[in-house]
Amino acid sequence: MSRDVTLEHVTIRFGSHTAVDDAHLTIRSGEFFSFLGPSGCGKTTLLRCVSGFLEPTEGRVLIGGEDMRGVGPNRRPTALIFQNLALFPLMSVAENIAFALEVRGVGRQARRKRAVELLELIALPHVGDKKVYELSGGQRQRVAIARALAAEPQILLLDEPLSALDLKLRQHMRSELRAIQRRVGLTFIYITHDQGEALTMSDRVAVMSEGRIEQVDEPLAVYDHPKTSFVASFVGETNVLPATVTGRDGTDVTLQTDGGLIVQGFAVGRRQYRAGERCQVFVRPEQIKVAPPEPGPNRLAARVLAEEFEGNLRHVSLAVGGSVGGSGGAPAVGALAVGGQPLRMSVVNDGSLPPLQPDAALTVTFDPSVASVLPEGPLARA
């Protein structure tokens, strides 16, 4: 049976504050689906609405086509893993895991047996008789998952479950979570403010900002083809060039940046732009390349400000003076042209680029097809 989760124009308000604004999407059965957004954007609120602790102010939540209004959290086919896990400290690990079975009146023997099975699933076979406080953070994490799985939910809801762990463990748990999801075949709805988590684990990601869902897409599409300024600036590193449209040819747009550069980009979603319209051009640092100093589209005269070395990558900050072959030329020492921000370039450290001295002049370029032109909109705060 299909266990799709459908949000139908779900709006949730607390007084006059709108925490979730018109969320409208379907999460497919068996999917690993993430909601990604900065803290305070309404992710937990939305998740609580799916699990049944909150009713939407407007709209409907459907699970398997059934309207969930009036169905309490104890009667929904969902299990929620809380941000702080909320394991029961007065019970042993096995009692925690078997709690959902205890609730259903399953006998002691059968409970014990199921707890042992689930402890094996999470690769912690010998901790059943321990108290929760005797476990490490990562172990608690997995026990919380086992406890939720014991309820045999069709949909597992996870509220930033990795945020309390240290970096190493977090990265390990990413693949662990994904593996568990594949093994049990349930729908996972995962919320996080960490784009790395969302992009690596998910089948699809919904990016949220201030209660609104800005884009729902596969991780690659969210990264490569952001549909709003917020998504472009929130997911991954990027350069933002505020600009004015000067001309267009289909989806190819020519613009003049506020720093006076002439650049070409492509209109996301085939949106039609009029000349004179304000917009923003987004170019990822890894899409900026060093080029021979010859005239051409998107050839920019630049000067090195600083270089950061990160093992596999080299991050270079550049001051950009003008388009090569157009006005300007290499910028004066200390000048910045991209909306007051240096242009950031990331280069793979494969030996193809010689060491760069500060103030060295060079020409950089990017392909118009990777420069996303979007209507001017709010950016994610750094």
């Binding site: 969902t78 259903r104 014991a150």
Partner: protein, 309 residues
């Protein structure tokens, strides 16, 4: 706390506040405990083993130790058992247990709602509503209960007016007024310890249990009550001890047939002028209460250390 722990705590205290404050505080606490609690109780205990002599003979040759005061409580002097006084003792203890249970049933939901069911402002108002009536002194409150429960009282007026019952009910003779009064008097002593314990409970625990399919009663049984247990234990101990030792409420609200054991003690001290007998009765009441408390703690698996929390 182990003796060593106490020593460490004291030396830290001295170190922090200096010898002057240290000696003053330790001295006054010791003085308080010895002078106002230990010595009078010991004197009472000693008196319970003596004859009731006129003042002139105290310390004289006839001032000997005896078990006669205890015997008087247990035996009727005609070779039988003193069912009368023992019955009063038993009934007092049972009544105190009953009042304790009643208070628990009332206070647990109130404490839970205060801790987890209301927003800050409304909770403060509720607490105020609970505390302010206790500004009225106990005697006045007891008489107010007489006005409410008397045969021409408020309750009867309402009940008769609404046609709920045909003739006035004597709530005082039925001891309804007494139980209501006692239950109300010690309400706060039950609410606050439970509130303290339950407030520390993470609300996510309750929600997690709900989410795992638990109905409300089981959430309380498995999650909230275990956390509330130390609070319940200390609240119940206080309510039980104080109810068993109450005097004003039984005096004012008790029906003609219900004698409280404290009233017997009072009679021996006051009207009977027999302090040794009164002391013996008081000692027995204290021991009986301690026994019941320890028994209850054994049954409900509460350790003595938990009560202090």
């Amino acid at each position: 706390m182990s003796p060593n722990g106490i020593r460490v705590a004291f030396s830290r205290f001295f170190h922090r506040w200096g010898p002057g404050v240290g000696i003053f505080v330790t001295g006054s606490v010791a003085l308080w405990i010895v002078l106002l609690i230990v010595l009078p109780q010991l004197a009472m205990f000693d008196a319970s083993f003596r004859f009731n002599l006129p003042p002139a003979e105290i310390g004289g040759p006839r001032d000997l130790h005896t078990l006669s005061n205890y015997a008087a409580l247990l035996l009727d002097g005609r070779g039988g058992i003193n069912w009368l006084d023992l019955g009063v003792l038993g009934r007092t203890i049972l009544a105190a247990v009953f009042v304790t249970i009643l208070d628990l049933l009332l206070c647990y939901p109130i404490a839970f709602v205060l801790a987890h069911g209301t927003s800050g402002g409304r909770a403060r108002l509720m607490v105020l509503g609970l505390i302010v009536p206790f500004w009225v002194n106990e005697i006045l409150r007891a008489f107010a209960f007489r006005i409410i429960f008397g045969s021409s009282g408020v309750l009867n007026a309402v009940g008769l007016g609404l046609g709920l019952w045909a003739a006035p009910v004597d709530f005082i003779r039925q001891d309804v007024a007494l139980y209501a009064g006692l239950t109300y008097t010690y309400l706060l002593l039950m609410i606050f310890p439970i509130y303290n314990a339950v407030e520390a409970l993470d609300r996510n625990q309750i929600e997690a249990a709900r989410d795992l399919g638990s109905p409300w009663w089981r959430v309380h049984w498995r999650i909230v009550i275990p956390v509330a247990k130390p609070g319940i234990a200390s609240g119940a101990t206080m309510v039980f001890m104080l109810t068993a030792g109450a005097l004003a409420a039984p005096q004012i609200l008790g029906g003609p047939s219900s004698l409280w054991f404290t009233q017997l003690i009072y009679q021996w001290f006051n009207e009977g002028g027999n302090w040794p007998r009164g002391s013996a009765y008081a000692v027995v009441l204290l021991l009986a209460c301690i026994l019941v408390t320890l028994l209850a703690m054994r049954v409900f698996k509460v350790r003595i250390g938990e009560i202090g929390r």
